[in-house]
């Protein structure tokens, strides 16, 4: 079984930067353009705030935005800017409070609802996350991202693969070249045992990633998993590529370990599993697999040590 909790938090980092901080580019969909604050004397502050956000000076931006919220308490824009800066500073509560203020003052953009939805997700408020994503859809029916995030949610925490596919289909209909939506649809299909559909989506996501020169390891991992039973040689190549592109993901090393074990390369598989355990130290199943491998290799002491750790982790961690 591959990783069940999808790295939504990792994905939203890039998403937010490119989608939300495009001050002065009013034509770009879903972006914020700070409106005049009602005082020409503050136009310098506004320009400075935009500069700070664009140059990722989040702490300074938060400070200035906060000052502007006090001077202009009825204008939603500084609250939005404050929420954005706090989000980047990792301050979820401050993000939510600032964005809710902006919302109460009448701001009703897709960008606001998406950012607020993500902030709710970060504090594990899934009901409110869904509410805001639905509002983002209402604000901009053509935007694929709320559908993508809802699909991602239902494929992991929401635990409803059919619903996830429905949302991902909507996302792909609006943005046919979005490799992440396509990959996650493939993931859901694989989990639903629709292997040929999954394979087609993984291959499409790989094609799109390669064409845009983006480093996206997950579809390679998916291909390796799908091919594990039918074509070990190809599975090995995809697994190697997944590790090469995403060495920080334990699930990539895990798929390579599975391939190498099947190929009879036990010590190489053990090395990959050790890397999995290093990258994700609380996952019990890696230690059980290491226990099995070490037993096969005749390393009884190491095997027993792994079994002990497996039992300890199983007793300690809740199954998510």
């Amino acid at each position: 079984m591959r990783s069940t909790r999808l790295p939504i938090a990792i994905l939203i980092g890039g998403f937010l930067f490119f989608s939300y901080i495009a001050f002065g580019h009013a034509a770009q969909k879903g972006t914020l353009v700070l409106q005049p604050l009602g005082s020409t004397e503050r136009s310098e502050d506004l320009a400075q705030l935009q500069h700070l956000l664009l140059t990722s000076q989040w702490a300074e931006a938060a400070k200035l935005a906060e000052a502007l919220t006090k001077d202009f308490p009825r204008n939603p824009e500084p609250f939005y800017a404050l929420g954005l800066a706090q989000w980047r500073l990792g301050k979820s509560i401050a993000t939510i409070q600032a964005l809710r203020s902006a919302e109460r003052l009448g701001l009703d953009t897709g960008a606001l609802h998406k950012l607020l939805g993500m902030a709710y997700y970060r504090v594990d408020q899934y009901r409110l996350f869904q509410l805001e994503m639905n509002q983002a859809i209402q604000a901009d029916m053509q935007d694929y991202e709320p559908y993508y995030f809802l699909g991602l949610y239902y494929s992991s925490d929401g635990g409803n693969l059919e619903t996830a596919v429905t949302f991902l289909n909507e996302a792909i209909a609006r943005n046919p070249d979005d490799m992440k939506s396509i990959y996650y649809r493939g993931y859901c299909e694989e989990m639903m045992n629709l292997r040929s559909d999954a394979q087609a989506d993984y291959l499409r996501a790989i094609t799109l990633a390669e064409a845009s020169h983006q480093s996206f390891s997950l579809p390679y991992q998916g291909m390796a998993d799908v091919l594990l039973r039918t074509n070990l040689g190809q599975a090995a190549r995809y697994a190697q590529k997944a590790v090469e592109l995403g060495p920080q993901l334990d699930s990539n090393h895990f798929i390579l370990a599975k391939v190498e074990e099947k190929q009879g390369k036990l010590s190489e598989a053990a090395e990959q599993l050790q890397e999995c355990a290093r990258l994700n130290s609380t996952k019990a199943s890696y230690h059980y697999m290491l226990f099995r491998l070490y037993m096969r290799m005749g390393k009884n002491a190491s095997a027993q040590s792994e079994l002990k750790l497996f039992n300890k982790l199983t007793a300690t961690y809740s199954d998510e």
């Binding site: 509560i93 409070q97 809710r100 009901r127 300690t316």
Partner: protein, 279 residues
């Protein structure tokens, strides 16, 4: 233990409970209730969550208490109510209003009966309340029950994957240590000093990073029982570990023991002089 020693010992314990227990118990509030993401109580509306965040961002404990009361009034069926009462309990703890800590903690426990941090805070509040005579001795059994339950819960509870094993083992050890400290204090109040010593020793053993206050408690008890050697060792460790308020008290007690030794040695020397036959 004679009455004078007992009263001195109890007043030291009172100092330790008030000034140190509070700060340490408060630190657990930062850890949250150790829930996995899928177990986190869900707000039904954004207004409900706004009100909950208002509680979290209160500027002082009085404001927290007022906001929790308002939250409970406006959202009586909220899934977040147990957590809100927990914050109210911690606010009263900062105000050192032990009876109110107990009351809020009991409300929190009705909704989240397995919350170890709440169990420990309420148990400690009962002890503190007994020390400053705002809570009746009859609640001592309840405090003991909470402490025992917290140890049982710590033995079986599971935690989310976000917390590393090493970090969890330290937190668990610290909490278990506090539960034994509470049981030790209960034993002291009940006059069962042998049990108290065992519990204070267990509190140090359970904690991978024992606190100065745990050694201070053991030192004070050993000193009152006349075991100066164990007391000196414990005070020495309390001085090493601190913080400053613990260090000062431990130093004072250690000096008392050492000056007692010096006095005894001087008396011995004088006797030696007297008894030494002339050459």
């Amino acid at each position: 233990m004679n009455n004078k020693k007992l009263s001195w010992f109890m007043s030291c314990m009172l100092f330790v409970s008030f000034l140190l227990g509070t700060a340490r118990f408060r630190s657990f509030a930062q850890m949250g209730p150790f829930l996995s993401p899928l177990q986190v109580p869900q707000a039904k509306t954004e207004e409900e969550y706004d009100a909950y965040l208002e509680i979290l961002t209160s500027e002082n404990p009085e404001q927290t208490v007022a906001r929790v009361k308002s939250f409970a009034r406006n959202f009586p069926k909220s899934q977040l109510l147990g957590l809100a009462f927990e914050h109210e309990m911690l606010a009263y703890q900062r105000l050192q209003e032990w009876f109110n800590v107990l009351h809020s903690g009991q409300k929190a426990l009705q909704l989240e009966p397995r919350n170890v941090m709440t169990l420990l805070t309420v148990a400690a509040a009962i002890i503190n309340g007994i020390h400053n005579q705002t809570i009746d001795h009859s609640l001592l059994d309840e405090a003991e029950q909470y402490a025992v339950e917290s140890i049982q819960e710590l033995g079986t509870m599971t935690i989310p994957h976000q917390l590393s094993l090493d970090r969890w083992e330290r937190i668990r050890g610290d909490m278990e240590g506090q539960a034994h400290e509470i049981l030790g204090e209960i034993a002291v109040i009940q006059g069962n000093n042998q049990k108290a010593r065992k519990e204070f020793e267990a509190s140090i053993r359970a904690n991978p990073d024992p606190h100065g206050v745990q050694f201070l408690r053991l030192g004070l008890l050993s000193e009152s029982l006349g075991n100066d050697e164990q007391a000196s060792q414990a005070f020495g460790r309390a001085i090493e570990l601190g913080p400053e308020s613990v260090r000062n008290l431990a130093r004072r007690e250690l000096q008392k023991i050492q000056s007692g030794w010096a006095g005894q040695a001087m008396t011995r020397d004088k006797q030696t002089v007297k008894t030494t036959p002339p050459k």
